[in-house]
């Protein structure tokens, strides 16, 4: 029995302000895939990710989760999705722990890692109970990283996740991604960085070509 792919994009088109950003995009992403969207700045990588999250409406085409249009199976899709955009969504007046607790509370699913363990793994162990306005931007992104550790969502959409992270964080994030896809999840991310992972599908948004690295 052939199963519907986890995520499939058919004939997707998006236009804004009377000019077309892209059209006729077809993609299929299955569990275990890492799809890296490449393209120059302004080519629409963030827009494509936001279309995938449902924050923007396509002008044509459809995005399907397990064969069902995301407009129809909204609850299931959103419950299984995690999106981290340019801003890490960290409230400055809350502590790292409170922020993480909040993010986890909003997620439908979380695994057994406790919040303090997750914070320890990302290197914020001693900082868990001071307000985040005392932390640096890199440390804010670590809080977002901790969120990835706890999340059980199957679809991860990450927009430039490697910004403002140091080498250690990069390694941590890459191992996190690896673990996620080995458990059957999928990752769609946009980044200029070369990932030190196997079998990364690189999709060039402008040329519409794909190759595996």
């Amino acid at each position: 029995m052939s199963q519907s792919p986890l995520l499939s994009v058919e004939n997707l088109a998006f236009e804004r302000d009377d000019s077309c950003l892209f059209d006729a995009i077809d993609l299929t992403v299955n569990g275990g895939d890492i799809l890296q969207i490449e393209g120059a700045n302004g080519s629409g990588k963030t827009t494509l990710l936001r279309l995938l999250t449902g924050a923007l409406q396509p002008s044509a085409g459809s995005i399907n989760y397990l064969g069902c249009n995301i407009a129809d199976c909204r609850y299931d899709y959103f419950a299984n999705m995690l999106y981290i955009g340019h801003q890490p969504a960290v409230k400055l007046n809350l502590t790292a722990e409170e922020n993480l607790r909040w993010m986890v509370a909003n997620a439908a699913q979380s695994n057994q890692i406790s919040i303090s363990d997750a914070l320890t793994e990302v290197g914020l162990a001693g900082y868990s109970d001071i307000p985040c306005y005392t932390l640096s931007a890199g440390q804010h992104r670590r809080v977002a990283l901790a969120r990835l550790l706890i999340s059980e969502a199957r679809l991860w959409y990450l927009d430039e996740p490697f910004t403002a992270i140091d080498k250690q964080g990069v390694q941590l994030l890459q191992s996190c991604l690896q673990q996620h896809v080995s458990r059957g999840g999928l990752v769609v991310l946009s980044t200029h960085q070369d990932l030190a992972l196997n079998n990364v599908r690189k999709y060039n948004l402008l040329a519409r070509t794909e190759h595996i690295a």
Binding site: R74, A89, W102, M103, E152
Partner: protein, 227 residues
């Protein structure tokens, strides 16, 4: 391991209350504004009790409205800047529910303190005795309406820089019925009439606001916050 999702209302309510508690100083400004501006009235008009008494109800109401207007600008602003609003648009829960939670938190930290402080202002502006209870009742319902209507304006202008002035323009016409019935409640009581009918209309406005504004806010946020 999937957990039962809550509606999002109480989660966002609690978070916003916690944030307000952490920024206590900021939250106190509408109340301070309220008290300070009301001292301008005797300075600008007259210190005579009799004349103040005539305008007290309306004045208190208008200043409460202005104080709410100033504070509603920031309802979605910080969430928009740090990306939390983006996340709110992606929750599986229906969007009007977290919105309802945020607006409720806003009223609890703005409208409610204003309502509780209003008898003090009534005293300072020689409000006749019959007006105090109606003032508190009308402000309680009225400031809630103002929070809801203000949230619609805040949602429509959240991604604009200097959206505050535009917010005032957008929301003022919507505020006018609330002011009319709010002050009428107090003035009816002062003149010796039954003040429950205008209060009931205010209650009806409140009910309509609770039902409809979160929908308008959700629609507006989807348009403005995802650009």
């Amino acid at each position: 391991m999937a957990r039962q999702m809550n509606s999002g209302f109480s989660a966002w309510l609690r978070r916003d209350l916690l944030l307000a508690y952490r920024r206590r100083g900021e939250v106190a400004s509408p109340v301070l504004f309220f008290v300070m501006v009301s001292t301008l009235i005797p300075l600008g008009l007259t210190p005579e009790s009799a004349r103040l008494a005539e305008v007290a109800a309306g004045m208190i109401w208008v200043i409460a409205l202005l104080a709410t207007l100033l504070s509603v600008d920031g309802l979605f602003a910080s969430d928009y800047q740090d990306g939390s609003l983006e996340q709110m648009l992606l929750t599986p829960q229906l969007l009007p529910l977290p919105v309802l939670g945020k607006i409720t938190a806003h009223w609890l930290t703005t409208g409610l303190p204003l309502t509780l402080v209003s008898p003090l202002l009534g005293l300072m502006l020689s409000l006749p005795g019959a007006g105090y209870i109606p003032l508190i009742c009308s402000l309680a319902l009225g400031t809630a309406c103002l929070s809801f209507l203000g949230a619609v304006g805040a949602a429509l202008t959240v991604s604009l820089r200097k959206g505050g002035l535009l917010l005032t323009l957008l929301v003022m016409p919507l505020y006018m019925p609330v002011v009319i019935f709010g002050t009428a409640t107090v003035n009816y009581a002062i003149d010796g009439f039954n003040w429950l009918p205008p209060l009931a209309i205010l209650g009806a406005l409140f009910a309509a606001a609770v039902a409809l504004c979160p929908l308008a806010v959700a629609g507006a946020l989807r348009v403005t916050a995802s650009n």
